[in-house]
Symmetry: C2
Subunit: 343 residues, 2 copies
């Protein structure tokens, strides 16, 4: 039996707000019948999307009003200090108070990270939380972190990312000893900075299933389950990949709609193209985890649609069910003496 | 009239050696009838691929024997110090001696960079040479540097990369004031490291057509002509992009060859797929420039085929014809007082 989990859903975040977050939450409650959800947001905005949901889900669905909304481009400081009754803040408060097991938001990443960190605090041994995204690979999926929260990282941070990433894969993919790779460059003469070299040593001593250095192409080859890098490299790589995929998709569309003949070809090839698209459907990979916090927080892509937001809800529930923060804390306790002993 | 240019071709480098480098060089000489080439390598290896080329091209084709070859995985130190008669070294020596206007090699990147730097030296004001690659974008091409030569960069290095990249685009694309973007991340709270912030200031004062920060996806959108980043980020991004493109290409192939029906669809869609493939044919982007040296050196991909190596030869000839090193030196002289005045 799946354990009952309550999700606190920031219903106001993202490009589409309640129009996406509510239907997706209802889909989730229908699928995961043991779970419950607390919808957080402005009641008058949520109301039109409720339909008969309150009747349908009974005690599994609640509304928690929150008067304010964090803007997608709002400054972090203003969101953190100025909006104590924002839907994002209230959703995270619910986790802190133990009324929810996980918070999900499609809002402003910087604000979500700052508020989560401020309200929930980091786990013992974790200096900085990280954002871990899931990318498709030739073999399935690759978990990459950090993706933007930490620009300048020490070797110890990269070690912590490795531990958190491995625990996340264990929780979401139910893999015992996920392999961890350290993102580096190939040129022999210049193999990585001092930080990366030292991080490799720490990872080697960590007891993780550390596979050594990997290169950029290994992310999509699926060489390791987890790829660790600093937030600058991770963010640039993720966005470049998104840009490339968009360019390729756009070009494919353009070529197939060039004239009558190519349109006919598209018609014939439609089932193939659909199956191809399904394979890399970015919606299925939605739901980045904010790791290292005393609580589960999942960030959905701002442009997420109903299916994408549903996938993020599933990830949040599974991470909470697997008690991810506790597992990271345990692993940190087991490994954290090592770095201090080494120096 | 195009100016006569002599290329020194390292015929032994790359995965295919003379089997690719010689036919490609002959293609080039046929197309660019004012140019000449010096084939560098072991005579007995080159001989079988010569055919009637010596007769066909007359004084435009010469052979310069070189007894040694730098291995694709050979340590840089061994290539640099131990092999003074390698085809790579001799090709670069020819540029140094003024007997050739540019050197091209498909060999070991690290060795090529080290030997070029040792033999040719860097231009005044340039601390470190950089490698600049060309990537396809939705609008044409984007020049990205550095791609692996420099892991830890100062703001001044990034400024120099910007200048060198802009001069390269001017030379190869004949654009007057190419736009330059600085690769950064989007999160407001954590916008870039101190190095990147300071580099933006320097670029703003440089007189270049500086467009400010760009993100990973801008590379493929073609937001700016040049994208500047440190060699670690550039290398990872390039390799991740290669990996993603490969994964997508592989999946497309797989989907179309799944069964008889999809194979029929592939047949119908063939002209479209071919035109699609041509658009992103990585061979057309072959030929990375080693910039900041007192001479033109172009690195071909190791796996380059005849067309790809031909494209690298064209780029080398054009860079030499446009006197790229002199242009970089002039631009550096105009801008270099600025950074020292600022501090």
């Amino acid at each position: 039996m799946t354990m009952a989990i309550t999700l606190a859903v920031d219903c106001m975040g993202g490009d589409h707000g309640a129009a996406v977050t509510l239907p997706a939450t209802f889909d989730f409650l229908r699928k995961d019948v043991a779970c419950a959800a607390i919808l957080v947001g402005r009641e008058e905005v949520l109301r039109p999307y409720l339909g008969s949901a309150l009747a349908e889900f009974g005690p599994r669905l609640a509304i928690r009003p929150a008067a304010e909304t964090v803007g997608m481009d709002e400054a972090v400081a203003s969101a953190l200090r100025g909006k104590k009754d924002s839907s994002m803040r209230v959703a995270i408060d619910l986790v802190k108070e133990g009324l929810a097991d996980a918070a999900i938001s499609a809002g402003n990443t910087g604000a979500l990270m700052a508020i989560s960190r401020f309200v929930l605090k980091t786990l013992p041994g974790i200096d900085r939380p990280a954002i871990c995204s899931i990318l498709p690979s030739a073999r399935g999926t690759t978990y990459v972190l950090d993706l933007g929260a930490n620009v300048d990282c020490t070797p110890e941070h990269l070690l912590q990312f490795g531990i958190m990433g491995a625990m996340l894969v264990s929780a979401l993919e139910h893999r015992e000893r996920p392999s961890v790779g350290l993102l580096n460059i190939g040129e022999e003469e210049i193999k990585g900075s001092e930080v990366v070299k030292r991080a490799a040593e720490l990872l080697r001593q960590s007891g993780l299933n550390f596979a050594g250095n990997v290169e950029g192409n290994d992310i999509f080859k699926g060489t390791t389950d987890v790829v660790v890098c600093d937030g600058f490299v991770g963010n640039v790589t993720l966005k470049a990949s998104e840009g490339l995929a968009q360019m390729i998709g756009g070009a494919l569309k353009e070529e197939f709609s060039r004239n009558l003949l190519t349109r006919f070809a598209a018609l014939v090839a439609l089932p193939v193209l659909k199956s191809f698209r399904r394979r890399f459907d970015h919606r299925r990979y939605n739901g980045a985890s904010l790791l290292g916090l005393k609580g589960v927080v999942v960030k959905s892509h701002g442009s997420a649609d109903r299916l994408a937001f549903f996938c993020a809800l599933e990830r949040a529930a599974e991470a909470a069910r697997q008690k991810l923060p506790e597992k990271i804390a345990l692993r940190m306790a087991a490994v954290s003496p090592a770095p201090t002993l080494c120096d």
